[in-house]
């Protein structure tokens, strides 16, 4: 019995962390966030792709590594930890899972092998499947898709985008086709791109198996939720580390502020809330990889909603530990704060996800 990340997973995670420490300092993150770092962002992206993140969830028969979601969770923690300004949850987790679960053999060999070789990159948007705001949504008729999707992940410069209708029928579009309009959304989090996608009678390649089985899209959402929870986990861990480090340096009243119990207790509270979260997120990923949907979906919902709550609290308290400096752009703590803030709302805010968890358990019966 061993409960935790494997040596290999930790090794991979450390490599991503180290790469971000070396190549994505706070100055570099700021440049990218301010829209002055396109080249820099490409370099960071290329560097992390060189570590192999694109091939993680692509099955071996299509040239990928064929590892499980827990492996991706390890990477997502590292990206959250360093607010990695690259596409991941959509392009390299949800998209390959969607293609693998719902694609025909032809679709799989067409798309998955090219993800593994990094010839193509996918964006994915299932927000309206989870819950449509502003009456957004996409209709499919006779192989053509029309409508509007919000908060499509990783669509910037993506070759293809996976979208779905309300019934969970997922399809692939070519981003360069006419009738596709992409508008970048200005969210608080400038480390990752989210788009509004408007389709007008666009050719779509429907992922065959999702036509008859709404469960497949749900399963993709489960994976997305676990990955976002892992991103929040990593970002929260980093915020606690920063708060503790700052409290050991900063002096007031001739003492380091970390020697005041008011500060120590805030840090202890944050650490105490976060420690069990590692276990919850890892167990959710392990369950996604190994258990039936009935078992794993509850864990996915709980990981997403619980990490949203814990992350919110930690992003607030760790900022407070930094005092006025925490509020400044100079320190850049807000990049973590905002990343956690966006993760909380994506693929279902905690109240909505808990409501799903209630349904899963039959509380409404």
């Amino acid at each position: 019995m061993y409960f935790g990340l494997s040596e290999e997973q930790v090794f991979f995670q450390d490599n991503v962390k180290k790469f971000l420490t070396d190549n994505a300092s706070i100055e570099e993150i700021r440049k990218i966030a301010n829209g002055e770092g396109d080249e820099l962002q490409k370099e960071i992206f290329q560097g992390i792709v060189n570590l192999g993140i694109n091939a993680l969830l692509v099955p071996e028969e299509y040239g990928g590594l064929g590892v499980g979601l827990l492996h991706a969770v390890a990477i997502s923690q590292a990206l959250g930890n360093g607010v990695g300004p690259i596409p991941f949850s959509g392009s390299y987790v949800m998209a390959p899972i969607a293609l693998n679960l719902a694609g025909s053999d032809d679709q799989k060999s067409k798309y998955l092998s090219k993800i593994a070789t990094n010839e193509v990159r996918f964006g994915i948007g299932l927000s309206e499947f989870v819950g449509a705001r502003e009456d957004a949504g996409i209709e499919i008729s006779n192989g053509k898709a029309s409508g509007r999707a919000l908060f499509v992940a990783d669509a910037e410069n993506a070759d293809h985008i996976i979208l779905s209708n309300k019934a969970g029928v997922m399809f692939v579009i070519d981003s360069s086709t006419s009738g596709v309009e992409l508008n970048k959304l200005k969210t608080v989090d400038k480390t990752r791109a989210f788009h509004e996608v408007i389709l007008k009678n666009v050719d779509c390649d429907i992922l065959e198996k999702s036509e008859k089985d709404i469960e497949l899209a749900k399963k993709v959402v489960d994976a997305g939720r676990i990955i976002l929870a892992a991103d929040t986990l990593g970002a929260s861990e980093s915020m606690i580390e920063k708060a503790v480090a700052y409290s050991k340096e900063r002096k007031q009243f001739n003492r380091t502020i970390g020697s005041f119990q008011a500060v120590k207790h805030m840090c202890a509270e944050m650490a105490s809330e976060l420690e069990p979260c590692y276990s919850l997120v890892w167990q959710a990923a392990h369950s996604f990889d190994n258990d039936s949907v009935e078992e794993s979906r509850l864990l996915a919902c709980m990981a997403k909603s619980h990490l949203s709550e814990v992350g919110k609290e930690i992003s607030k308290k760790s900022t407070e530990v930094h005092g006025g400096m925490g509020f400044t752009d100079l320190l850049g703590l807000h990049y973590w704060f905002k990343r956690i803030g966006l993760n909380r709302q994506l693929l279902g805010a905690p109240e909505l996800v808990r409501e799903e968890a209630a349904e899963i358990q039959g509380f409404n019966q």
């Binding site: 019995m1 409960f3 935790g4 827990l70 120590k264 207790h265 392990h286 709980m302 808990r354």
Partner: protein
């Protein structure tokens, strides 16, 4: 990640499950036996017991014979005599909880004194005390805290002097639970007044019927938890009541304190309690509407459930770190008491909130739910938040030893 215990445990799991099926929902009676009075003193969740009825002495014996209790205590001292096996212990705890099989007696004698004597006791002390403790024949109370030695426990002042081969003890202990039911007390006594604070303490065993001991009940907010104050007036016990050497008492006590902290909020018990709460919310109604159908109540329930599931997953990680010593979960093990007691208090309080006015019923009110256990446990866990090292002390420990933050500077100026 590998959550399987391995096929070599399959036989053991089915053996435990067979036993658990036989004793599922069993009632353990005390037959009004005075020595088990302690077990009747605390309110328990009065779920219907549908299984067998076994009396307490037999139950202790059966569990020891099977190796489901006192598993790694040597046979010669009345235990089962098995090799310590963390996985087997876990399997036993999990299956007992799953099948609602009554557990063995706990208490400070079994949980703290037995491991202490096994580590520090003389052969004679082991022979004399361990077996009778495991069988529930000797009940122990713990004499640590004093009125001026709470969070600052090492400041304790109860004095012991060695006079003509006997310890003569004077002073006062407080928060002594079960003192009124106990035959023995293990306590910390200042025997070396010249030594430094921590080095002046000894660990001494005292028969409670020794002349000069006075027990006064200390009624707490639950009205039922049964704390006491214990006064010593020239209490005289033989020299060989000392465990380990003079002045080693602090080390002796600390060797089992960590164990107590971890056990204060068992995640399995919390999960069972959560399931009972879910059942309650499906049964109880307001204006004919089930409580679980009220969105704000339901959301609070699910929030707590997320925390309970996190703590349960965490217990797997802690178990894993015991099996795989290379896995470092130091910070993770320090948080258990803080997180577990706060969570349980919140959970019990939620049950009271959803019941509204009915939730305030207590004791033997004819309309009280679950024997008043929600109110009792809600208050009792507030006690546990304070006891066993207050949660504020826990936060000091977590920040200093877990996060490496500096200690509070010592104040030298008298105010």
């Amino acid at each position: 990640m590998n959550l399987e215990f391995g096929t070599e445990y399959n036989d053991f799991i089915s053996e435990v499950q067979d036993f658990c099926k036989e004793y599922s929902n069993a009632t353990i009676t005390t037959n009004n036996d005075k020595k088990f009075e302690i077990l009747d003193a605390l309110p328990v969740n009065s779920n219907e017991k549908t299984g067998k009825t076994v009396n307490r002495s037999d139950w202790q014996r059966i569990l020891i014979e099977k190796g489901y209790f006192a598993r790694s205590v040597p046979k010669e001292y009345g235990g089962y005599g098995g090799e310590p096996d963390i996985i087997k212990s876990r399997i036993i705890a999990t299956e007992f909880s799953k099948y609602k099989v009554p557990s063995a007696m706990g208490g400070q004698g079994i949980d703290m004194l037995v491991p202490t004597l096994l580590e520090w006791g003389t052969e004679e002390q082991k022979q004399k005390h361990i077996k009778s403790t495991l069988h529930g024949e000797t009940i122990w109370c713990q004499g640590y805290s004093e009125p001026n030695a709470g969070s600052d426990l090492a400041n304790l002042q109860t004095k012991g002097e060695l006079i003509d081969g006997n310890w003569v003890i004077n002073g006062q202990k407080i928060w002594t639970s079960t003192a009124q039911f106990s035959q023995m007390m293990f306590c910390l006594i200042r025997t070396e007044p010249e030594a430094s604070k921590h080095a002046g303490i000894s660990f001494i065993l005292i028969p409670m019927d020794t002349p000069g001991i006075e027990i006064r009940p200390l009624v707490d907010m639950t009205l039922k938890a049964g704390f006491n104050e214990v006064f010593f007036d020239d209490v005289t016990v033989p020299e060989d009541c000392l465990v380990a050497k003079r002045g080693e008492g602090w080390s002796v006590a600390n060797s089992v304190l960590g164990h107590e902290r971890g056990s204060l909020a068992n995640p399995n018990a919390t999960m069972n309690r959560l399931n009972t709460l879910i059942g309650l919310m499906k049964e109880e109604t307001i204006d004919g509407r089930r409580l679980i159908d009220i969105p704000s109540y339901r959301d609070r329930l699910l929030k707590v459930q997320g925390r309970v599931m996190a703590v349960q997953a965490h217990s797997l990680r802690l178990l894993s770190s015991k099996i795989n010593p290379e896995q470092n979960v130091k910070l993770g093990s320090m948080i258990q008491k803080l997180v577990g007691t706060e969570l349980r208090h919140e959970l019990e309080g939620l049950a009271i909130d959803i019941m509204g006015e009915l939730g305030t019923l207590y004791e033997d009110d004819p309309n009280v739910r679950d024997g008043g256990s929600w109110q009792f446990t809600y208050m009792y866990f507030l006690g546990l938040i304070i006891g066993g090292g207050t949660n504020q002390i826990q936060k000091n420990i977590i920040s200093e030893r877990g996060l490496g933050m500096p200690r509070e500077p010592k104040v030298t100026v008298e105010v």
